[in-house]
Structure formats: structure tokens, C-alpha cells
Amino acid sequence: MIRAYRACRPPLAGGLPFLRRCTTGRVVLCALCLLVGATSRALAQDEAAARGERLYAKYCSNCHGDDLQNNSGVAFDLRRLKADEHARFVNSVLHGKNAMPSWQGVLAPAQLDDLWTYIRAHGYEQ
């Protein structure tokens, strides 16, 4: 399922100060640059989340629920992870927690980033 990740993603920070640095004659060009930059960044986010979604379905959904929808209480509801809990996420995945095995040596750091992007796109708290 293709998801509208951009709709869930927080607005990009830093856009307005960048615009303020533009001179009047360059506003149009700057705006265009900003748009292209933002779009490519958003696209990269989308691609990472899509990769994360596939990884999730393969390695995580057995216990954490299809499409992150977890109603069991048996495993942690990953949508509860907050933006500042990246380290907690990585630690649990690499070292295991409770009944969860360690995925060290199975999931590469870049794949962990993709998973994190996917999970955060669906977090309860952005």
C-alpha cells in the first residue's frame, strides 16, 4: 500500500529564514530552489519510508502488527515512539528486549534508518 507520508510528516524547518536571506530580485529563483529542495527531500523521505514499510512487513509485523496497527498488548506499540527516542529504538532492535530477539547482523544501519522513518511517519505524536 502506498501511503501519503508527506501528509503525516512535520513541516520542514528552516524554510522561512532561508527566504529572508534572498534579495528581492532573486525571490522567484530562491523560491523555486526551495521548492525543488523541499520536494527532493520529501521524495527521499517517502522512499525511505517505503523501504522501511517493506522491512517492517518482513521482520517486525509478526509481533508488532500489520501496518503498525498493534492491538495485542503482547508486543510494544511502535507508534508510541517519540521523535527523541531514536536511541531507544536502535538499542531495542540491536540488542533485543523482553521476548524480542536482537536483529544485529541482520538489519544494517541504513535499514534501521528506513524503519525509523516509516515508524515515525505513523507515530501518535509528531
Partner: protein
């Protein structure tokens, strides 16, 4: 001196009573309803009890006698065994013996396994029960070991490694003792393992035989796979078979081919999705019957196999009954494996019927597409099946089967070939996109009273969440089962009316049993949510069902 004499007399009179049950106890399990000696309650796995004290009239007086904490949060699917006043029960992390009358723990033996083990556990971190024989208790472990414990002390007697997580193998099922051989299956088709059923010597754990369920080149069935089955995988055996001592045949349900995605495995893929009739002493196959050849839908044929004697066209027939995961209710001649009947018991759209002569399903166009193309299709039943691992029961007096069914379909789309061409054991062997199609009425499951020969329901009770528990039927006219929301229920076996219920602390995914002590009937069941439906399927009805395993025993309160 006198007491020593009496003690000696007792030991001589009951050589095994203190130590565990014998082969003849096992053969007579159906006629000794005081105990629960084997998975399925008897070798026929009818899960029928002749006990009548708890019945349609008295069930309103059924109350808890005691409960016991399993100290486990991952789900309780185990069937209790009851012998000589002791209940033996397993969990993924322990085996325990509990005083059947008081609920007091007698012994508790933890099960330890390497933390990486659960990487290849697809469908719930669970265990489904034990076998007991001549003073020993036998069980399997998630890291694919078969172990024997002393029934008296819980001390380990032997432990044998059967398979390895790196090959995608885990074990969750209860072993079966048949003709003096300990027989067990394995799980792992979702991780590309090659399935097998095994026989062990219960005395020392020596492996006597291994029967692979998918062939290699040159072996029977190899030509039903691409490349003569050089890399064939799947065919796990993750539930417990039944046994006909007279025919000397063990009947074992064999699971799905791997991966689910069928694009690269055209052919029947023998002996996946089959019932195998095996000789318990040697593992030799007498016959097989395949329910879903070339299956793309994970219609894993591991649902319970019940042995029964029916009257068909006025003649007695020794049959085998199975509510197939593919949605058809199968009746086979259990001597020959010949098909007698196969009719849908839930909504089925993947096949229009089953050919009586060949036993092969007649595929619909959507199934043909699902096997050959990556186009999305819709089909019924869902991969969960018309039913799943949780066993059904059978009342021989009325020839009625009591089955918890799942009643929904799915959107299904195979991933492209690139996703499956380089898979190796231990990888995820699904490679399909699936989303459920639920009914508009919001009911995802039923408890059904089914006529095996027609597949038709005599009655059906709907449930918002499908029941993921076994059923038990008694001569008291009651069917016991549990709900994922925790209610343990007793249903009138004739009408389908819920006569009694008790709210347990978590969802029920266990297997109820009944037994008798000093003329009093008891019912025992586990509570503790988990299992593949609860873990994977979004279900708002389960939002407030906490995990936590407990074992419960009920009895009638005095009038």
C-alpha cells in the same frame, strides 16, 4: 513392618500409577474421562468427553475452583494434561505441574533458548502442550529441541536438538506417543525450511526416523516441483497428528509450500498441504491426500485431524475428518486416503469445488491469476483459513463437528519475481501483499456445529473477533470454548445457545479439557492472549484485552 509390607504391596499392584501412564492407558484414553492423557484427549482427537455432571441444567452453577499464574505474556495455547491428580501444562518459557484440586504448583521447570530464536517464529511465541508416557513428560521448545522431564520432579532426563533457527526451524506443537514412539513435527515454512515429521525413542531421545515432507531430486514427488525439487521448501508439520492403533497409522497435517508467492514453483508441490498417513514405528508413508496443490494462499493444511466412525449410505465407515484451512470440510476413508466428501463450511471463492475422483480442487480464474501473475485479486478465505491450528471437536453420538471458524477474505498480490528468486532459509518466505476484507456486519468469526458430510452448519454463533481457541464437547450437551476478549463459554451443543460464561483476565487461545476426581467433574482452560491473529490483525474489539497467562479450573458449586 506392617506399613512397609503395605507399601510394597501397593508398588506391586500399581507398577506405573506413581510414575506415569502406560501404552494401554493411552489406547483407552477415550474410556477414562477422569484423566486427560494425550493431545486431543484421545488418539482419535475427538475432544469428546462422556462426562455428564456438568450439563445444560447444571452449568449455571459452574464457578472457578482456582487459578494459577503462568507468569508469561506471550500467549497460552497449551492443552492441559491431567493424570493422577496433577495437571501438566506448558508455556513457551516453562513446563509446570500443578495440583489439580488446589492449583498449588508442584514443580516448575523453565525453558531457556537463545535470544535469536524468535527471529524465525512467525506466528506467536507459544507452545501447544506435552505428551506423557511411562513416567516422563515430553515437549518441544522454540529452539527446536525435544525434551523429556521426570513427571514427578520436573527434572530434565534428556534433550535432543532437532533443528536450527538458521535453517528457519522452530517447534511449538505437542508430541504424540504412538505405538511406543515419540512423534513430533516442526514449524518454519515461513522461513524456507524443509519440513519433516520425526520419531524418537521415548527412553533416551534417540531419533528413530525422519520423514521429510518435501522431496529432493529422485525422490517420490520430486517432479511436482520445478528443478525436480532441488530447492523445494515448506511443508511444516506444526500441529499434532492423530493415531489409529488398529490400522497402525498416524495421520499428520502438513503445511504450506514456501514461499507463499507461487510465481516460481509451478506444480503440485508435493507433499505440502497434505494429510500424510505414516507408520509410527518407521515413518513410512502409507498414503497421502493433498488438499491445496500449488497453493499461493498459505492454506496450510495443519488443522486438527479427527478420526470417527460414520454411517454413510447405510454402511459403517472408518473416516478421517478435517475442516481444511482452505475452507472445505474433508471426509476421507482413513484406511485408503480415498476422498468421501469435500464441501465448503465457510465462504470459499478460490475453488468452485473438489473433484471426487482425484481429490483436486477446481480453481477459479482468480486463483489461476494469483499463481501466475502479480495482479491484485480478491479471494476467500483469508490466509488465516476457514479455521486454523486451534482444534475442533466431534460428538460421535450426533456426528457433529464443533469448529471455530474465521469468516473473512483478502486482497492478495504477489511481489515480483525479483523478491523471491534469491531467498535462502531464514529469510521471510511470504513475498505477497495481503489485506483483509471483513464482512459488513462486523463479525469476523463463528462457532459452528457442522455436518462433516455436507459442510453445512446446523447452527452458527457469530463473534466480532474470531475465536482462536479449541473446542471441547461433552455428553452433558455442552460445547466449551473461549473468546479473544476473555470469555470462557459453555454452549448448548444442540441449539448453539450460550448457556454460561465467565470473564477470564485475558483473551483465550487455549484448549479446554474436562476431567473427574472423586466423582466430581472439573473443566480446565488457559487464558492469555497472543497467537498470530491477535499479533498481526488490526482489531478494535481487542483494544482493551491485556496479555497475561493464567490457568483456570472450574467446578460446580454445591446447591
Amino acid at each position: 513392618m506392617k506399613s512397609v509390607f503395605y507399601a510394597a504391596l501397593l508398588v506391586a499392584a500399581y507398577p506405573f500409577s506413581a510414575f506415569g501412564q502406560t501404552a494401554s492407558d493411552l489406547l483407552n484414553a477415550a474410556d477414562t474421562p477422569q484423566s486427560v492423557l494425550t493431545y486431543g484427549i484421545s488418539y482419535s482427537q475427538q475432544r469428546f468427553s462422556p462426562l455428564t455432571q456438568i450439563n445444560r441444567q447444571t452449568v449455571k452453577r459452574l464457578v472457578p475452583a482456582w487459578s494459577y499464574s503462568m507468569n508469561n505474556n506471550t500467549g497460552e495455547e497449551s492443552q492441559p494434561l491431567v493424570y493422577n491428580g496433577v495437571i501438566y501444562i506448558t508455556s513457551q518459557n516453562k513446563t509446570v505441574a500443578v495440583d489439580a484440586l488446589t492449583g498449588k504448583e508442584i514443580w516448575n521447570t523453565p525453558v531457556d533458548y537463545p535470544p535469536d530464536t524468535t527471529r524465525v517464529v512467525c506466528c506467536g511465541i507459544v507452545n501447544r502442550g506435552a505428551a506423557i508416557y511411562e513416567g516422563k513428560l515430553f515437549r518441544t521448545t522454540l529452539d527446536a529441541r525435544v525434551i523429556a522431564l521426570d513427571m514427578k520432579t520436573g527434572k530434565q532426563i534428556w534433550s535432543v536438538k532437532s533443528g536450527d533457527a538458521k535453517d528457519g526451524i522452530a517447534m511449538t506443537s505437542a508430541p504424540l506417543i504412538a505405538d511406543g514412539v515419540l512423534i513430533t513435527g516442526m514449524a518454519g515454512a515461513e522461513y524456507g525450511s524443509r519440513g519433516y515429521v520425526e520419531g524418537y525413542d521415548p527412553n533416551d531421545g534417540k531419533r528413530l526416523w525422519r520423514h521429510y515432507t518435501v522431496p529432493r531430486p529422485g525422490e517420490p514427488g520430486a517432479d511436482s516441483w520445478p528443478d525436480h525439487a532441488a530447492n523445494a521448501s515448506g511443508g511444516s508439520s506444526w500441529t499434532t497428528g492423530s493415531f489409529d492403533p488398529e490400522l497402525d497409522l498416524v495421520y499428520w497435517g502438513i503445511g504450506n509450500p514456501a514461499p507463499w508467492n507461487a510465481l516460481l514453483r509451478r506444480g503440485d508441490d508435493l507433499y505440502t498441504n497434505s494429510i500424510l498417513a505414516l507408520r509410527p514405528k518407521t515413518g513410512e508413508m502409507a498414503w497421502y491426500f493433498q488438499t491445496s496443490p500449488n497453493d499461493p494462499f498459505d492454506h496450510d493444511n495443519i488443522t486438527s485431524i479427527i478420526l470417527a466412525d460414520l454411517t454413510i449410505n447405510g454402511k459403517p465407515a472408518k473416516v478421517l475428518l478435517q475442516a481444511g484451512r482452505n475452507g472445505f470440510y474433508y471426509v476421507l476413508d482413513r484406511k485408503s486416503g480415498q476422498l468421501i466428501a469435500a464441501n465448503p463450511y465457510v465462504k470459499v471463492t478460490w475453488a468452485t469445488g473438489v473433484d471426487k475422483e482425484t481429490g483436486k480442487p477446481e480453481w477459479t480464474e482468480t486463483t489461476k491469476k494469483a499463481i501466475a501473475y502479480t495482479e491484485e485479486i480478491q479471494t476467500w478465505p483469508h490466509i488465516t483459513g476457514g479455521t486454523n491450528w486451534y482444534p475442533s471437536s466431534f460428538d460421535p453420538r450426533t456426528a457433529t463437528a464443533y469448529v471455530n471458524t474465521t469468516d473473512y477474505g483478502m486482497k492478495y498480490q504477489p511481489d515480483p519475481i525479483d523478491e523471491i528468486k534469491n531467498l535462502k532459509p531464514g529469510d521471510s518466505y511470504r513475498a505477497v501483499k495481503i489485506s483483509p476484507i471483513f464482512n459488513a456486519d462486523g463479525m469476523r468469526g463463528h462457532l459452528r456445529a457442522i455436518d462433516p458430510l455436507t459442510g453445512k452448519s446446523k447452527w452458527a454463533i457469530p463473534f466480532k473477533s474470531p475465536n482462536w481457541a479449541g473446542t471441547l464437547v461433552t455428553a452433558g450437551g455442552l460445547v466449551f470454548t473461549g473468546e479473544l476478549t476473555g470469555e470462557f463459554i459453555a454452549v448448548d451443543s444442540d441449539t448453539g445457545k450460550i448457556l454460561w460464561q465467565f470473564q477470564t483476565p485475558s483473551g483465550i487461545i487455549g484448549q479446554p479439557v474436562t476431567w473427574e476426581h472423586d466423582g466430581k467433574q472439573y473443566v480446565t482452560v488457559t487464558s492469555g492472549t497472543g497467537g498470530v491473529y491477535v499479533l498481526k490483525t488490526p482489531d478494535p474489539n481487542l483494544a482493551h484485552v491485556p496479555p497475561g497467562g493464567t490457568l483456570w479450573t472450574f467446578k460446580l458449586i454445591d446447591e
